[in-house]
Symmetry: C2
Subunit: 271 residues, 2 copies
């Protein structure tokens, strides 16, 4: 394989880094792959870091020492985060999304790879400092969001299920009260999926009363894990008092007027 010129090497480097956010690469790996000196790779990475930072396209973090190396971290700037929240709110205001009963259709956004990826990068940026070992979500509609958050952090996703399955082995279950409907429900996780003491970032698509979120937290305590944070795409304004206090919502649904066909939603980036 012909030795690459600098701009070619940088193209390949950026591609490798971007494909595996959170993955720790050693300089030797790159030096070997591109048949060049580690000092050259180090210079390339400085250039890449500078341009990604400047263009708001994420960053490169360097870990010093023998076990060290570099990782690419998606990072959403404050300005880009607000723009994303605004765009999301604008999408949700479309009156065609109003369903009978005052529900809002959002499945298309939740299952769009592009939206899931943008929101996942936002959650990763917001919660990276909490150093989560895992991301967890409850089936079904939070899965794309959870997966993309996990991808952006370079961590696995754990799925909490509404029931336990023979294909998942020994599992731990809890019952919880679904906040809005006051219905008793079950939530379970395979025992092998969450190591003792793991720090778990919880992600979900929608929060109203907070019952499901409370259940996720209780289940994490049951398996000896710690909650590193809770991020949701949309929280409702009412009830203001939810079963969980500390959460991050990208937007807040203030109300749906089925007669005037209006969805009132505002960007939030907080509670």
């Amino acid at each position: 394989m012909a030795k690459l010129k600098r701009s070619e090497r940088i193209a390949a480097l950026v591609k490798l880094l971007a494909d595996r956010p959170g993955h720790l690469w050693s300089l030797s790996q790159f030096a070997e792959r591109f048949a060049t000196a580690k000092s050259t790779i180090s210079d390339d990475l400085s250039l890449v870091k500078a341009v990604l930072d400047q263009e708001g396209l994420g960053t490169i973090r360097t870990y010093p020492g023998v076990a060290g190396g570099v990782t690419y971290e998606p990072r959403v700037t404050e300005a880009a985060a607000w723009q994303l929240a605004e765009e999301l709110a604008a999408q949700l205001r479309d009156p065609q999304r109003i369903l009978p009963g005052g529900f809002v259709y959002m499945t298309d956004l939740l299952f769009s790879p592009t939206w899931a990826e943008r929101l996942g990068a936002l959650f990763a940026t917001r919660f990276r400092g909490e150093e989560p070992d895992l991301v967890a979500t409850v089936e079904t509609k939070g899965i794309p969001l959870g997966l993309m958050t996990a991808r952006a952090l370079g961590r696995p996703l754990v799925l909490l299920r509404r029931d336990s399955r023979v294909t998942e082995g020994p599992s731990v279950s809890i019952t919880y009260v679904s906040g809005s409907s006051q219905r008793i429900a079950t939530m379970s996780v395979p025992r092998r999926a969450v190591p003792q003491g793991a720090r778990v970032l919880l992600v979900d698509d929608f929060m109203k009363g907070g019952g499901t979120a409370r259940g996720m937290m209780d289940l994490m305590r049951e398996v000896g894990a710690r909650v590193a944070g809770l991020g949701v795409m949309i929280a409702t304004a009412e009830p203001a008092r939810k079963l969980v206090e500390d959460y991050f919502a990208v937007a807040v649904l203030e109300g749906v007027d089925t007669v005037r066909r209006q969805v009132r939603v505002r960007p939030s980036l907080g509670r």
Copy 2:
């Protein structure tokens, strides 16, 4: 913002392209963003294409004409595809995966962003020529795989559900026979999720009798869509005669010996 040097511009270009597979970028967009001539961008893109092709990191496709531009396409080489299938088989052979009843635990692989992304790129490479408009999967465990396939193709993911929900609006349902258990089950899709005549690529994690796959196909016909292909991560060797004939499996599960604690699985890249 300072004007970028060539290697800096290429770093940013590759990052933008890699973040949105399948997205059509016009040269003008890049020229504007980097305050440079379209001919310069065009030269940059030729260099990027050459190095991605050479390094097996995907490719750049150029669409000529007024509505033209370039897209980045993940592409898995034949050699990399076999390596992936071998690695997957090796993972599944781990005797610790054997569960009571001869089931094999694979949830960790299915919900790993890295595995989902690699498999998604493989499905995208295999089925890109069929020009799918959408990717569809059935809840729950196929979702990460479906999402990453959709991402690699730059297309939306549509979720087929085991029941229909008030939050999804008018939907179309079918009943089907779950092949292995001979149980009657329901599968539904929101009417607005699949446009008439759409070409849909079906993706699932596991196939035994093919009943679920058959159901997905029947549901697609019911909404006036066409099936562009069917990709599964694992198919079982038995029954050899399944309810669908034409599918692509990454690996084949030949049997599980719960006494000798052996999982027999082979790479396939076909039926």
